[in-house]
Amino acid sequence: MNLKSVLIASVAVGALSLPAHAENILNWGSSRDIGSLDPYSYGDSFTINVLNHAYEGLVRYNLDLKIEPALATSWEILEDNVTWRFKLREGVSFHNGNPFTANDVQASLARVSHENSPLKGNLPAYVSSSVVDDYTIDITLNGTYPLLLNDLTNIHIFDEEWLVENGAELPTDIGAGVEGFATYNANGTGPFIVESRQPDAQTVFVVNPDWWDEPAHNLDGFVLSPINSAATRVAALLSGEIQFTESAPVQDLDRLAAAPGVNLLEGVDLRTIMLGFNFGETLMSGAPNPFSKNEVREAMYKAIDLQLIHERVMRGKSRVAGAVVAPPIPGYVPELDTIPEYDPEAAKAMLAAAGVPEGLEFEFNCMSDGYVNEEQLCQAIASMWSRVGLAPKLDIAPRAVQSPKRTNGQTDVYTLGWATLPMLDAYSPLLQIFHTKEGNSGVFNWGGWSFPELDALVQKAGKELDTETRLGYETEALQIVKDENIMLPLHQQPMAWAVSDKVAEMPLFPDNKPRLWFTQMSE
């Protein structure tokens, strides 16, 4: 075991929090912990989001979720259409004092795209990079690709010298059974510096006084403490132990709104929750599979009372959805967003007409630690389907247990939430979910469907550099998704942050990512 790192970690913990009372320290009670301090360790939006406070990318999202320069100041596509030239910001330094240069970008891109990197899928088009001078770098892609900037918002930049000094040039290889240096230590350019970390207990961030940007926050630091139980999180907020949570339980919002000293920030997440079907020959039980027929899927959609789910399960906080992407996502048009009428009688008739036997048993795969109130949502839908003569068998278990079954098509019906992160474009679900499963496409096509017409549109969109034309293709492809009922969109799930009144200002982002560098606490 690595005793040295224990010592380092514990000394750091001992040093923290002495002057905590006098300063603006935000205690953040999160619903879960980050996986690691290494932003390339773990393809998980929450971990990347939190580490974004210490690490930055070449570009970033601004308050309106538009891409703006960060470590890069400008960029252009060279004449070959596959090489992008980035001008880098001068005078930026890492937390350890090292200056930021093009070599750092090159080392980071090499690290993130390494064969063992769990994050290489976040930069799918990357081929190589070359340093032009200290503040200029060329990135070469495997073809024309319009969404490189969107991808780069989440590729955090490391200090090359620091990586080399600590033997962390390559991503941590879990298979080797050796801990990576970057797992415990962080050194970025971001607005906050990681001071200490105890996994599952707390991670302490202090403000970076030498940040290159003008801070829009007045924090002296923040402490991330994971509190898994929703009820405990609410209790901690009510008793003033934490000042912020990014995950206030929907059912407690009324209570929190009425509590003195607590303010709610509510909105609708970009994440659309949908139901997917297996399109295979047979069900898991061996019976013939009726779900590959469009009229059966349509009937099952009609049998779900979306409005009732919105009112009861989501307590009126969700947005009932007819389209698989949320309104702010490029590619969305309101015409796609029509909601089917709830009509159990018609659904029953349609099922009978399609030859679905009465009392048909099938598996319905849900996660107990997945989406907002998912367990309750699935029970409600199962109950509605039972009433039109089907017999869904609920299969609820933690994500880790369910994921293998889902990805291998070992279930009949399943839930899926998609927020188009980090790309924020309809191209993301079209390529990942609705495209036929082949190579890097259709990775989330768990039902095994194939619509060649849709595939063609998606491929055209992936090469089109003109935004208007590209979005046109995407909308057309989304129309096919809608007409064929490939997946059944239910709602965009509610998003609720709760802050104590010590927090004067905190912008709520529709991608549900806290960006504390915009947070003001009252003095």
Partner: protein, 323 residues
């Protein structure tokens, strides 16, 4: 709170069983029925438990709703408070949960599951423990060694850990279609596995003591069959500590089931036991839906308290030194 109660006092009982030879004869002299009548708390507990068990067994006939039938749940009727609240409505005497499940029905069905799992796991552990303990104590040698080493291994992992692991593993590896059907048997098994050892040790110890006695040797000499010796002479001698331990373990098994379900590795959400109901309710602790958590918790406590009261009385009644 599983094991503690099992190990220590049972061991004391078991020591007592060995030290004081006359427990059984004295038990015969003391009048269990007389002692029962003299203990109002025992009468009360027995009556309460009887009532709960009866209502739980009759649940399918006396409840307004089958809470396990998904088609019977109506989301429109969710979150109705108990009948004495002005928003309460019939037939939902204790209100409904977030799925529109009638709380009274859910509690009675849940109690049924809890009682069945508790009872069945004790019976399973008891039969396995008695059999293996008799075999080990009577035959000795390598058979004894194998059985007792397996017992040692099980006892060197905390009860609750074994139960969590067995239950989580089984639910993770079963196909979903079997999952709900097998949920209760898995829990029975998970709770019984670590608890048979205690019975086996008690029976084995007294079997060994008895085996050396002259009447057993004599019986062997006149070739009375081994199983008859065991049943007729040895088993009755160990019944006292076993009976007490089994009663107390019944309460513990119900608590263990509730704990596993509370931790999310017990009964699934479409067949809620009392622990599952409390787990749901806990999520709504601050939402004003107090009845979802309070009623199942009260019912669970009532069941376990009355079982333990009976067990307590039984222990005192069977222990002549305390008379």
């Amino acid at each position: 709170m599983a094991e503690p109660e099992q190990t220590a006092p049972a061991a004391k009982d078991d020591l007592r069983a060995r030290q004081a030879n006359g427990v059984w004869s004295r038990l015969r002299e003391s009048d269990l029925g007389y002692s029962f009548v003299r203990h109002p708390s025992a009468i009360f507990a027995a009556a309460l438990l009887g009532l709960i068990a009866l209502s739980a067994l009759l649940a399918p006939w006396i409840t307004p709703q089958n809470p396990y039938d998904l088609a019977a749940l109506e989301l429109w009727n969710s979150e109705i408070p108990p009948i004495w609240d002005e928003r309460g409505q019939l037939p939902y005497l204790l209100g409904t949960d977030v799925q529109g499940r009638d709380m009274l029905s859910a509690i009675l069905y849940g109690s049924r599951i809890s009682l069945i799992i508790g009872f069945a796991s004790v019976i399973l552990a008891l039969s396995v423990g008695l059999t293996l303990g008799l075999i080990a104590g009577y035959f000795g040698g390598w058979i004894d060694n194998v059985i007792m080493r397996i017992g040692d291994i099980l006892l060197s992992m905390p009860f609750i850990l074994i139960a969590i692991l067995i239950s989580a593993m089984a639910t993770a590896s079963l196909p979903p279609s079997l999952k709900s059907a097998l949920a209760a048997p898995i829990l029975i098994f998970a709770i019984a596995v670590p608890s048979w050892v205690q019975y086996a040790r008690t029976v084995r110890a007294s079997t060994m003591v008895e085996r050396r006695k002259e009447y057993v040797q004599a019986a062997r000499l006149i070739r009375v069959k081994s199983w008859r010796i065991m049943l007729q002479h040895i088993l009755p001698n160990t019944l006292t500590p076993i009976m007490v331990a089994a009663t107390l373990n019944f309460g513990l098994a119900i608590l263990s089931e509730a704990t596993l379900s509370f931790l999310g590795v017990g009964m699934p959400s479409d067949q809620p036991s009392l622990g599952t109901l409390i787990r749901f309710g806990n999520e709504y602790l601050f939402s004003g839906l107090w009845w979802i958590v309070v009623f199942p918790a009260v019912q669970l406590c009532l069941i376990v308290v009355s079982v333990n009261m009976i067990g307590d009385w039984l222990r005192d009644a069977l222990n002549p030194k305390l008379q």
